[in-house]
Amino acid sequence: MKGAAETAVRLEITARLFGVYRELAGASERSVTLPADGTVSDLVAALRGSEGLDFLPERPLVAVNRAYAAPELPLAAGDEVALIPPVAGG
């Protein structure tokens, strides 16, 4: 089991930031590394724990491949992910 963990594939996810999140982060994207079976909520936890992103709420809106995603959705390599602040279009 320990051997398997050492060679387990990790998931590198780049999350795009928009609006007030982008402004507060000072960046339009942030990358994190997750376990291979990482989910949207794992991603959010990792982002919130990373440098300068503690302003993120516990359950922000997240889009995966341009559709709103549930927290339990598993992520995959190459997924397009974005954190969506409260919207204000129209």
Binding site: G19, E23, L24, R66, A82, P85, P86, V87, G89
Partner: protein
């Protein structure tokens, strides 16, 4: 720009643009001779917001997702109401009071369906389109609409 049509189904055209939506052309001659009603809705920048004088608005979009979501919204409307055509566009960039931020055109055989579908599209745009706006006020302050007190305070600090 996204365009979909076909058979008895409604023709749907949607787009996100940083150009002006003040012109009427894309919303003229909607639908066909089967449509007895057409409605065009315009959302515009107002000069005042919650008692404060607005000098300009900056709209930011997650454009790739907004295009997809806008098309989905219009398709949902066409499935719920009998319409001939729906055309919808949202603007990004800096807008001044009086300018059009969103425009929705609906043509339908009957006016009831026309009004209902038009209303649905704007309400869904406001509820779920990934677009944000930063309001700038006459006193020099600014805030991200809907983002809460912290954002406004941070925005003021950034000034």
């Amino acid at each position: 720009m996204s365009e979909r049509g076909g058979g008895a189904d409604a023709t749907i055209r949607t787009w996100i643009t940083d150009g002006s939506l003040d012109g009427f052309e894309p919303f003229a001659r909607l639908g066909s001779a089967a449509d007895g009603a057409a409605v065009v809705f315009q959302g515009r920048v107002r000069e005042a917001s919650e008692g404060r004088e607005v000098t300009r608005l900056e709209y930011e979009a997650y454009a790739e997702m907004a295009e997809r979501e806008l098309e989905l919204i219009c398709r949902e409307a066409s499935e719920r109401w009998e319409v001939g055509a729906i055309v919808a566009a949202h603007r990004t960039g800096t807008l001044e009071p009086g300018e059009v931020s969103v425009s929705i055109g609906v043509a339908a055989p009957h006016r009831g369906q026309c009004y209902e579908a038009s209303r649905y599209v704007i309400e869904e745009i406001k509820r779920r389109l990934p677009i944000w706006k930063r309001e700038h006020y006459a006193d020099g302050s600014t805030t991200w609409v809907g983002a809460g007190v912290e954002a406004a305070a941070s925005a003021d600090v950034d000034q």
